[in-house]
Symmetry: C2
Subunit: 190 residues, 2 copies
C-alpha cells in the first residue's frame, strides 16, 4: 500500500467522543468536549485526559479535584460539539444545550444524559507543552440500566457511543460487530 506522509501531527482515530463535567469551587458546572482521554491502568483503575492549560475544565479540576468523563450517545452530537466550540468561561453550557449535571454520592458531577459516566478523582498531572495530562483514580462507573439484559450482558447499540475521527474532524456512529475480543484470534494460535 502506498503511503502519504502527513508530518508530525495529531491525526489519529478512532477516538472516544466524551464530555468532561466539572464544577468550580463555587459550584458552577462546566461541560467540555474531549477526545484525548482513555484508560491507562487497572492497578488501580486510572483514567487520563489531556487538557489545554487555558481551559475552564482544567481550572475547575485544579480547584475541586473531582470530574467525570461521560460517553456521548450519537443523538447528542450537536450538543457535544457545541461543548467543544464554546468556552465555559463565558457561557453556561448546560443551560444552552439543555444537558443536565447532577452530583453522585461521591460528590462527582456527572452528565444525566450519558449512558456511561466515569467518576474521577485527580491524582497527578504531567505537563506536555500547552497541555496537562491529567491522571485520575476511577471512583465509580455508572452505566445505563436499560443497556443490560437479564443475564447482565450489555447491548452496545443501547449505548450508541459517538466516535470521533481526530484529524478528519468527523463524528460517526458504530456500524456492525466484527468479532469478540480475546476469542476471535484463538483460531490462529499454534
Amino acid at each position: 500500500m502506498k503511503k502519504r506522509q502527513l508530518g508530525p501531527c495529531v491525526t489519529f482515530f478512532p477516538q472516544p467522543a466524551t464530555l468532561v463535567v466539572t464544577r468550580d469551587a463555587a459550584g458552577q458546572s462546566n461541560i467540555m468536549m474531549a477526545s484525548w482521554t482513555g484508560i491507562v491502568s487497572k492497578t488501580p483503575p486510572t483514567l487520563a485526559v489531556s487538557l489545554h492549560h487555558s481551559r475552564r475544565t482544567y481550572a475547575n479540576i485544579s480547584e475541586t479535584g473531582l470530574f467525570s468523563v461521560n460517553m456521548v450517545p450519537s443523538h447528542l452530537v450537536v450538543e457535544a460539539d457545541f461543548c467543544g466550540l464554546a468556552s465555559g468561561t463565558n457561557l453556561d453550557k448546560a443551560t444552552i444545550t439543555g444537558l443536565n449535571v447532577k452530583d453522585t454520592p461521591n460528590g462527582v458531577p456527572c452528565l444525566t444524559e450519558s449512558p456511561l459516566s466515569v467518576e474521577c478523582r485527580f491524582t497527578r498531572e504531567v505537563a506536555l507543552g500547552e497541555y496537562r495530562l491529567t491522571l485520575a483514580e476511577i471512583l465509580e462507573i455508572n452505566a445505563d440500566e436499560a443497556a443490560f439484559d437479564t443475564h447482565g450482558s450489555a447491548n452496545v447499540l443501547a449505548f450508541d457511543p459517538l466516535v470521533y475521527l481526530g484529524g478528519l474532524r468527523e463524528y460517526w456512529s458504530l456500524g456492525v460487530k466484527q468479532a469478540d475480543a480475546y476469542r476471535a484470534g484463538l483460531k490462529l494460535m499454534p
Copy 2:
C-alpha cells in the same frame, strides 16, 4: 435514566483498536494489540500508550526507544486479536499472522497493512501500578494514499478503522457519519 453502578473498573469505550510494533535490540519484531492509547499533546505532537510492565513491547521500547501505533482496518480483526492474545516472548506474531513489519526512513518499524501508522520516539514514562504510561514524540504519520481524493480530503471508510469496546470485549466497525466537528454545534451558539 436509571443507572447501574459497575464499581471502580476499566469499562470504557469507544477505544481505538491498534497494533503497536516494536523491535528488540537484535532486530526481532513484535506486534501487540493495544487500546489504551491516544494523543495527549499538540505542542509538540505527543502520543501515549499504557503498557503492562511484563510485556515484550515494553521491554523492546526500553531497548530501542522507537515504536509505531498502527490503526487496525476491520478486515484484520482476527490477526489483531491474536496479537493481543499471544505473547511475543514465545512466538513470532508477524510470521503466524502473515502481517508485515517494515522500517521507515526514521528507523521506526511500522505495519505495512495499516492505513494509518504513527511513528513514535519514547520521551518518558509514568509508573501506574503494574502499567507504564509511555509517552512519545510523534515523528511522522503515514496514511494510505488511496484514502485521499484529488482535493486531499480523506475518506473515512477507506481507512475502515476497527473500534474496541473495552469492558464489553467486542470489536465493531464504523457505521454512519453523524456530523462535522467544529461545525455541528455552531447552531446552538448564542
